[in-house]
Amino acid sequence: MCENICQSSTHLPKGVSRRDILKVGAAAAGLVALGPMGKWLPAAHGAPQALKRLVVVNLFGGNDTTNMVPPTTLQTYFDRRPTIALQPGEGLSLNVGSGSTTLRNLHPAMPLIHSAWTDGQLAIVQKVGYPRANLSHFISQDIWSLAVRDDFSKLKGVERSGWIARYAGRFAPTPMGAVSIGAGRPLDFEGGDSNPLMVSSLGSFRIRTNGSSSANNTAEALHRTERAKSLLARFHGAGNSAEAKIALDQAYQLADQVQTAVANYSNAVTFPNTTLGRRLKDVSTLIEAGFETQVFFTGIGGFDNHGNEGGATGTHANLLAQVDGAIGALVEDAKRQNIWDDTVIVVITEFGRRSFENGSVGTDHGEAFDMLVLGGGVNGGLYGADLSDADLARNQPQYDVDFRSVYKEIVDRHMRADDKLVFPEPLERTHNLGIL
């Protein structure tokens, strides 16, 4: 399926991980520290061209996509959500050009994402999920992170690991190959053979040495770091401490490089000063600085709207506006850096919500939801079976498209990597969507 034009892991011998490489690197006298690291650091300022990138934006809490992409003609929707339903006139129309008809709108808080639709660069995949839905935030998030629904013991030779860790271990095995920003330590990054970078923000990824900002204090801090580095340079041990030396060398250099990237950032596009805006600005900063990061993982919380969710305005609308402003800026920035055609942004959540509003004028946990996929190379349009009155007559819409069908397509057609190595579990339902 992935013949000779995609990144193949067969070049990286099975069982040889970055750690083994480091081990041998350390054993070879004199070849300490700078072994594979040269390539994690930016070669030159400016986005590496033609590198394929994926930005995953996770909306924690369970985003109500039924209201994000409101149906325009399904009476069940209006009947079951008397207070919070968006009226057909309130949404942004997804009908573009003559003869185009969709039964859904886009939320009015999302004008920038709507313009990606108009440009034919937004795919909306309807009723995405996985078999045997789990309505716990914790467990459902894990399933999305692992991208394995059943048991790892049935997948011979695959260690329990997050899908980004598996991707990074095979195809981007450097600390900058995959980066998580502001998402804690997502399970997506756990396990596997690589050590991807996970930071709360780029600004926080530095070695703190300075108690106060007085100039003499700064001089002392520099002196201290200088001494720590000279002890490190002099040290030549074997075994674990030699590996620690490599990691320390990398820590100093990488932290410096990231701080340099932050300091030199052009601010050519203004990102909104919101949580997600700042995180996507960090994404842009790494790209502009020339890091060869392939997968970015970030997101915001607040989507667990059990009460007072609102409709065209209100709590949920404000969250969507934040998503729209931040993603809109990233799209504009990617175009500025001339990498939009090589970038895909996906907007996910752990599950959708119930078909009906509850007594607190919010919605409870559901199952399937609509996933957004944006990118210069994306074939815009609605994918998957259309949402129907029958779907909404149930407690919640059931899944039609396995989320891994979308991920697999992105890894295969966009990242040009062997998706079977990243998503080893056979799917119960497969879709060839053609988004990319």
């Binding site: 594979p36 914790f138 530095r206 040290f235 820590a251 295969d412």
Partner: protein
């Protein structure tokens, strides 16, 4: 899926870089994986009768002027040190050298250009005696001196050579030599033909032995030079280091003590070092393994972490949040005077992993009971522990035991019970047997206590599968009175790999990885043949040759808890438990929240650029929490020598010793320079001798020194 043919091949530079590197190193990796484990030879040779490392009384001109000279010897026999004479500090430099007349000493003390004194003499008995030439304030003109070295031990070189057999009979590898101070690293080589040969070379030090080799035993005529000495001997018998469970006969020196404390006490402390020296190894380990049976003061002090103002009167401390429980345990780890209790509990928590995040607000108190199960019984009986673990409400919830019923048995716990907890993956059981045992693991359910609102677990015969089950060749008869958990535990323990599996896991957490089969069998027998008594097992382990062997030293990377709790305990620079919670969460190891049922990563998985940045910042948080430390009466000098002995050198030696950092030549000078200079914002360097009574020096420079040491590669290792 197929590709659109118009797409161009993506730039794969990052991947190519790795391919190149791995291709280069592919062969050695493959070799290293197939090769025999290295042979380790550890031996000691006496280089000289005294080791000039320490403080020695110096008397000039028959005692007219006296002082205490602190001296350190490097590999080449160069001496550095300090002495105060008549109130003036003198920097000492010189050398010690083996001559025909015996050990000769040459030392020059400099205060400034005007004041200096030169000493030349030889060792006679327990004193260096000879002539002095002074200029300036002290001992001017010609005179005599005596340096009393009666407190100095013999200068013994402890050599650890780690070699693997290469072509033919040649041996090659690394060596470390330790002589009264930090170990220095170098190369080892040898051969095993009829004429056995082993040599060790380290800058300034050389050991050569020639003789005969019989397998992994050498009988050598040897010579050694270095550290100012030159000596030789005959019939040095060197045998590959024994790693049995027999009691170690090595003296518990400073390194051995640090090794034990780092593995069992979250690091070194002066108090525990003294306790170990006073009690001796055997008593110390016995006491360490004996977990307190009554409530300890630290438990009383930690309890408020679990209490919330909204707790019902009849359930005080029963409604903790998930964070409360983590902080309660961090409190115990930080303040306990019996930290092995927490260290071994953390091992069991990692092994029988449960994540408190799955528990609801009326269930979270289960996690406290879960932690206490291992805190209190982790050195008890293994069979009892397994049984209690299986019925533990937190575990029942985490691995779906509470949802495993007669009509719908859940395989989750049944699978992990064998795969992760007791036997190992695919080790003697089948999928069918997992289905059978999942039927045995049925019957528990939750109920609500009406008085407190708390959820509790009880056995419900109606949910229990009352039919017979056959596992591992044994049939559990059908019954509907009790659960079948005890039966499954007993059948499992009767199975051969059960003792091997758990004892190897303990060994690989506390000693070193990949013990050979003989040792694994010995370990298993130790537990199985003593009626599963864990206390006996732990005691034997921590007194054994294997534990103190060279391959055990530094065999592990510290995990974040060991690093964070260890740094704050050793330095006394404590963090608030909620700060520690945040920092450890960031580092990926918050106790009570392992990422998966398989527990936390281990070994070099903890080493990444990210982790090292976060570690260094954790130490910095502790170092800069000055105002709170002042409020709580914590001062950095609490770990330092008394004021009158608190020279820059002594401060460095104390901190290096406590953090067990291995310095190399030149490091100490660097650190002295750090303590004795001030850097100005304009870049100028101002001499500013360290004053051990100056609180600003202590709060800035000593804390700064600790930050430097916390970043040392050897501090990442235990």
């Amino acid at each position: 899926m197929t590709h659109l043919p118009t797409r161009v091949r993506p730039d794969s530079r990052p991947v190519r870089a790795i391919i190149l590197t791995s291709a280069l190193f592919l062969a050695p990796v493959a070799l290293a994986q197939e090769a025999e484990p290295p042979e380790i030879y550890r031996f000691q040779v006496e280089l000289a009768p005294v080791c000039l490392d320490g403080a020695f009384p110096l008397a000039l001109n028959g005692g007219t002027t006296t002082g205490n000279a602190t001296l350190v010897t490097d590999t080449k026999g160069k001496l550095t040190g300090q002495v105060t004479l008549d109130g003036l500090p003198y920097a000492l430099t010189g050398s010690v050298k083996a001559t025909k007349k015996g050990l000769s000493l040459s030392l020059t003390g400099r205060n400034d250009k005007k004041n200096r004194v030169t000493l030349k003499g030889v060792l006679e008995g327990s004193k260096f005696t000879g002539s002095s030439t002074g200029k300036g304030a002290v001992a001017a003109g010609k005179g005599t001196f005596e340096l009393d070295v009666s407190t100095a031990g013999p200068q013994i070189a402890t050599v650890v050579a780690q070699v693997t057999q290469g072509r033919g009979s040649s041996l090659k590898g690394t060596a470390s030599v330790q002589v009264c101070g930090p170990a220095v690293e170098g190369k080892a080589s040898g051969s095993r033909n009829r004429k056995g040969h082993l040599s060790v070379k380290i800058s300034g030090f050389k050991f050569t032995g020639n003789g005969s080799a019989d397998g992994r035993r050498f009988d050598l005529k040897w010579s050694a030079s270095g550290f100012g000495a030159k000596t030789k001997g005959e019939s040095l018998r060197i045998t590959e280091e024994s790693v049995s469970l027999a009691p170690s006969t090595l003296a518990v020196d400073s390194d051995a003590a640090a090794h034990l404390l780092k593995r069992t006490h979250f690091g070194v402390s002066a108090g525990k070092r003294a306790e170990l020296a006073a009690k001796g190894l055997s008593q110390f380990v016995d006491d360490m393994v004996a977990i307190p049976t009554t409530e300890t003061q630290v438990e009383i002090d930690a309890f408020p972490e679990l209490v919330n103002v909204s707790d019902p009167a009849n359930a005080i401390g029963k409604y903790p949040s998930s964070a409360d429980i983590a902080r309660w345990w961090l409190h115990l780890m930080t303040y306990s005077d019996t930290p092995f209790q927490e260290v071994q509990a953390l091992f069991w928590h990692d092994h029988f992993a449960v994540n408190s995040e799955v528990l609801g607000s009326t269930e979270l108190y289960w996690m406290v009971d879960y932690v206490n199960l291992y805190r209190r019984n982790g050195t008890g009986n293994y069979r009892d522990l397994l049984l209690a673990m299986s019925r533990d409400p937190a575990m029942l919830d985490y691995l779906d035991g509470l949802r495993s019923t007669r009509t719908a048995p859940n395989e989750n716990f049944a699978r992990e019970f064998w795969e992760l907890f007791t036997l190992g993956a695919d080790n003697g059981y089948t999928q069918e047997e997992i289905v059978e045992s999942s039927r045995a693991f049925t019957g528990y359910r939750t109920r609500t206590d009406d008085a407190t609102g708390l959820t509790y677990v009880s056995f419900d015969t109606g949910r229990h599968d009352a039919t017979a089950k056959t596992i591992l060749g044994v049939t559990i008869p059908g019954q509907n009175v009790t659960d079948d958990y005890e039966a499954v535990v007993d059948i499992t323990l009767d199975n051969r790999p059960a003792a091997e599996f758990i004892t190897k896991k303990i060994f690989e957490t506390f000693c070193y990885t990949n013990p050979d089969e003989t040792l694994v069998a010995e370990l298993a027998a130790l537990l199985r043949d003593n009626d599963w008594d864990l206390a006996h097992f732990w005691r034997t382990l921590f007194k054994s040759e294997a534990f103190f062997s060279a391959r055990s030293r530094g065999a592990f990377v510290k995990n974040p808890v060991e690093y964070g709790i260890g740094f704050t305990r050793t330095t006394g620079l404590l963090l608030r438990v909620d700060e520690m919670d945040d920092l450890l969460t960031n580092l990926g190891q918050l106790p009570t929240r392992p990422p998966t049922v398989d527990g936390w990563p281990s070994g070099t998985e903890w080493l990444s650029a990210q982790a090292l940045v976060d570690r260094t910042n954790l130490a910095w948080e502790a170092i800069t929490d000055l105002s709170r430390h002042q409020t709580e009466g914590i001062a950095v000098q609490d770990i330092l020598p008394p004021e009158n002995e608190r020279t820059a050198g002594a401060v460095i030696d104390t901190c290096v010793d406590l953090l067990d950092v291995k310095l190399v030549e030149g490091d100490r000078e660097d650190l002295l320079d750090y303590l004795n200079t001030d850097r100005q914002s304009n870049g100028s360097v101002v001499e500013s001798p360290f004053d051990g009574t100056n609180q600003t020096h202590l709060d800035e420079r000593v804390r700064g020194l600790l930050h430097i040491l916390a970043q040392h590669p050897t501090y990442q290792v235990r």
